[in-house]
Symmetry: C2
Subunit: 203 residues, 2 copies
């Protein structure tokens, strides 16, 4: 089954580049471009829509594969994987900050290539779980601390509930809810529930 993914391979050593490209084609990824240095890679990225990039770290030039990763992260939404000889702790600590979807150590095992593409793409486009916002996170943007009860009200409000619904669900009077909301808005420095919701969702 041929894939229609467009893949860029950035590798300064032509023999290794050929190896990688051959391996990709053999694994039914026929649409492969090669770039042999940083500038060529930048140019190709600006002219094509790639779905996945393989990066060597040492490009024998002023700019490394890590610089290229940073460029990709700042300008494109493309998953990438390093293929490199480096396995030392310092390099790992540096490259992990660029969030590669994979890291293959040379000499590479051919089986790894399709695996890292499939799993890397899936992870890169993983739907992001919505998590209940914690009271600690909210307190980072408030002028004074939110109380536990105020937090209860906030969660209901974030759920899109109106004041009557919230009062029913928390077994209190609607006046209590209004009272809490007044305090919440002061602490969040907002004027309406919509604005409160927006501010909290953007933490």
């Amino acid at each position: 089954m041929k894939s229609n993914l467009k893949i860029l391979v950035v590798e300064d050593d032509p023999i290794i580049a050929d190896d990688i490209c051959a391996c990709l084609i053999e694994n039914e990824y026929p649409s492969v471009n090669c770039a042999f240095n940083y500038d060529e890679a930048i140019a190709q990225l600006s002219q094509n829509q790639f779905d996945f990039v393989f990066l060597d770290i040492n490009l024998n030039s002023k700019h490394s594969g890590i610089n290229l990763a940073i460029h990709i992260n700042e300008n494109y939404l493309i998953p990438f994987c390093y293929i490199t000889s480096y396995a030392d702790v310092n390099t790992i600590q540096e490259v992990k900050k660029t969030f590669p979807v994979g890291y293959i150590v040379k000499p590479f095992n051919q089986k790894e290539i399709p695996i890292v593409i499939e799993i890397g793409l899936e992870n890169f486009y993983k739907p992001q779980l919505k998590q209940t916002i914690s009271i600690q996170k909210i307190n980072k943007i408030t002028t004074s601390e939110i109380s536990q009860r105020e937090y209860d009200v906030i969660l209901k409000m974030l759920d899109g509930k109106n004041n009557t619904e919230i009062s029913n669900e928390l077994f209190v009077s609607i006046n209590t809810i209004k009272s809490h909301l007044k305090n919440i808005f002061v602490k969040l420095n907002v004027r309406s529930r919509s604005e409160a919701i927006s501010v909290i969702n953007n933490i």
Copy 2:
């Protein structure tokens, strides 16, 4: 430099389990537990707080490592990596749906272990970018399509703007905004802007 990460290794073959554990300890991950089958892994997970899990796929029991991965995803917030002999397309297609942070093919290269832990953890806890919601995503939950102008109004509403602010920013009358919102609420099947915001934020 010793790491204080707690790691669980789930592997039915004791010799391979020993290999993995030895490799972890050698790479300064001293806090390692082993589980030799699914039930033992479940028990350990419920009694300990692990930071990372290595999973074999074939556990020689009714439940596979994939079942365990699903259990972890549903009940815990822990990154995991498969270590397995399987490299076939079908297995990859199946396991990628569980979002492993890595996938190591046996026989494994010892260098890979610390790499996948470091990069896997970093990726797992990567701060999530807030993106402007697309009109296509919204249209997945509407009863009929949102128009371009309606979409403009939605974005402002999501920003916490009130009707007067929106009318000023879009250079139209407040009645136009109310009119658009009426239509938007019908399409989203909601009764208030708070509910609309909540529904859209939870796509």
